[in-house]
């Protein structure tokens, strides 16, 4: 089996003058996976992301990228950041350049690629996010959904194997959330692993099969979402609720061990209930 893209082993991190933000964290993300990261504010989700990208240095423990331990050497960090990209929660904090094209080219330029390659990658990233006509526009004149797509194109242009998205749905309207989900599907099809932190359990249920639950800096569950949502004690500890679809199905037929998470599963589940009668 291939080495996981990223693996954390007993990693702890405390912010300067702050309490432990992440305690004894061990987790690995493999190629092409889709993972939802759940937990309340300040549970350690964002710190986890910053650790995965080498922005923060683990106080204890080791970070592996493609099976190799990551040191603080520039070469290692460059390689890590090329393979693992973060789409930050606030697009405004990520967008740097004054044209969309310049913005998307920032990552590839920093990778030291030849100009031709930078142009090619920038063009491709813009096209796949449907932003080709916006290349010369100023990012500040774009809508929220468009800005989010620019920030995804930013990372895409670096051709990563894993993209971490920090609460991507938090500032989007429902229409743009739907578009985002299509975009994520498209990225998955391209073989890119996706880790998405979110407070929206309905979105998480649609998006992923595997979930990571954080609470007070600890990873308290790394399991299938079906297992996570059937564990009431766990949900209470992390103050999560069950997805509406799950709750609706549970109300109709209480006592089962697991319920549907996606609309497709729900249809299947309905058919079963008809058959069983």
């Amino acid at each position: 089996m291939d080495a996981p893209i990223i693996q954390l082993e007993n990693v702890s991190y405390a912010y300067p003058d702050g309490p432990m933000a992440v305690k004894n964290l061990s987790v690995s993300i493999g190629k092409g996976e889709r993972v939802a990261v759940l937990g309340r504010n300040g549970a350690g989700k964002s710190t986890f992301f910053l650790l995965c990208n080498g922005i923060l240095e683990p106080g204890e423990g080791t970070l592996f990228c493609g099976g190799q331990p990551v040191t603080r050497k520039k070469k290692d960090l460059l390689e890590l950041r090329r393979r693992v990209g973060i789409v930050f929660q606030e697009a405004e904090n990520q967008i740097l350049a004054v044209t969309v094209e310049g913005e998307v080219s920032f990552g590839p330029m920093n990778l030291g690629l030849p100009l031709q390659e930078v142009e090619k990658r920038t063009g491709e990233a813009l096209s796949s996010m449907g932003l080709h006509d916006y290349a010369q526009r100023s990012p500040q004149f774009l809508s929220g959904g468009e800005k989010k797509r620019v920030t995804i194109a930013d990372i895409l242009a670096m051709e990563p194997e894993l993209i971490l998205l920090d609460e991507p749905t938090s500032s989007l309207d429902p229409e743009n959330v739907t578009r985002l989900e299509e975009t994520l599907d498209q990225l998955s099809e391209a073989g890119i692993a996706l880790v998405v932190s979110t407070h929206d359990v309905d979105f998480a249920a649609r998006f992923a099969a595997r979930g990571l639950v954080f609470s007070h800096g600890r990873l308290i569950a790394d399991d299938s979402l079906a297992h996570i949502f059937s564990d009431s004690a766990l949900l209470e500890q992390a103050s999560l609720r069950k997805p509406w679809l799950w709750q609706a199905a549970e109300a109709a037929r209480p006592g089962e061990s697991a319920y549907p998470l996606t609309m497709d599963q729900y249809r299947q589940w309905l058919k079963q209930s008809v058959v069983s009668r």
Binding site: L77, L78, G85, N93, T99, G102, F106, G107
Partner: protein, 269 residues
């Protein structure tokens, strides 16, 4: 999103919008910058009424006919520099003398406030000289988006630090304005602007909050830059319209005409 987020008001931001939709957008910014700077220098150093009028009028014509900016918008742009000019020219126009003299005078305390022929000539010349210069700069800034202008500076080997500061200031200016606008709305919703004293306190508090949020934001921005392998140098792809012979030629012809006009006015021939 806050009011005006997509269409910021105020004249700096208006220039930005004008530049983005200007008729001269595909002219090389190098040509535009060189042209406007040369005209500006000629206009200021000639210090001549007719030259000032000539430059001002031709720049207005360029912005209106070639840049496709409506005269109404040009007039709107002119308000702020015009106010400055009128005030400063009025100071030069009026002289304080012991005796009433000149074209017009009124007593002012124990002395007299006069307009002499000399001061009138001086003030009018200065006014049009400055107008010519102002329109030169407007012609540049209304037709060249800031990113392109920064690129021109980069090619002229302005130090990298200055270039990066210009980029970041330009980029975050809009964010800061947006935050400031939201804070102001939130403060006035809680009656923070009723009365002069309270307005002052509120404005002070908003500035403080703005500073704090800038610090917070800057560290987040730095994280985001680092995650994309930032290593101390800002590099972006940029597309600059290439220099076209026609444009360079037209600019050259205009400058020659202007030089000729100055020579004739100065009686150097």
């Amino acid at each position: 999103m806050a009011r005006g987020h997509n269409h910021p008001s105020g004249s700096t931001l208006m220039l930005d919008t004008l530049a983005a939709h200007n008729g001269l957008l595909n002219v090389s910014p190098m040509v535009k910058t060189a042209f406007c700077v040369v005209c500006l220098v000629l206009c200021v150093s000639a210090a001549d009424l007719a030259v000032g009028i000539f430059v001002a009028v031709s720049m207005v014509l360029i912005m209106w006919l070639l840049g496709k900016i409506s005269l109404h918008k040009l007039l709107h742009l002119l308000r702020i520099p015009l106010a400055f000019l009128i005030v400063s020219c009025a100071v030069i126009l009026l002289e304080l003398t012991p005796e009433p003299m000149g074209l017009w005078h009124i007593p002012f305390g124990s002395r007299n406030l006069c307009i002499t022929k000399e001061s009138l000539r001086h003030a009018v010349t200065l006014f049009f000289q400055a107008m010519g210069a102002v329109f030169c700069l407007y012609a540049l800034s209304s037709s060249t988006p800031v990113p392109q202008l920064i690129d021109v500076f980069r090619r002229c080997h302005v130090p990298e630090l200055v270039i990066e500061l210009m980029y970041l200031i330009y980029r975050y200016l809009f964010l800061l304005l947006d935050v400031q606008q939201k804070l102001t709305i939130a403060a006035s919703a809680r009656l923070g602007y009723s009365g002069l004293k309270r307005s002052a306190t509120t404005a002070g508090r908003i500035s403080g909050t703005l500073l704090a949020s800038s610090f917070r934001r800057s560290s987040q921005c730095y994280d985001a830059m680092e995650s994309r392998c930032y290593d101390g140098k800002l590099r972006f792809l940029s597309h600059m319209p290439p220099v076209q012979t026609v444009h360079a030629l037209a600019a050259g012809v205009y400058v020659l005409v202007l030089v000729g006009f100055i020579v004739v006015r100065k009686g150097w021939l």
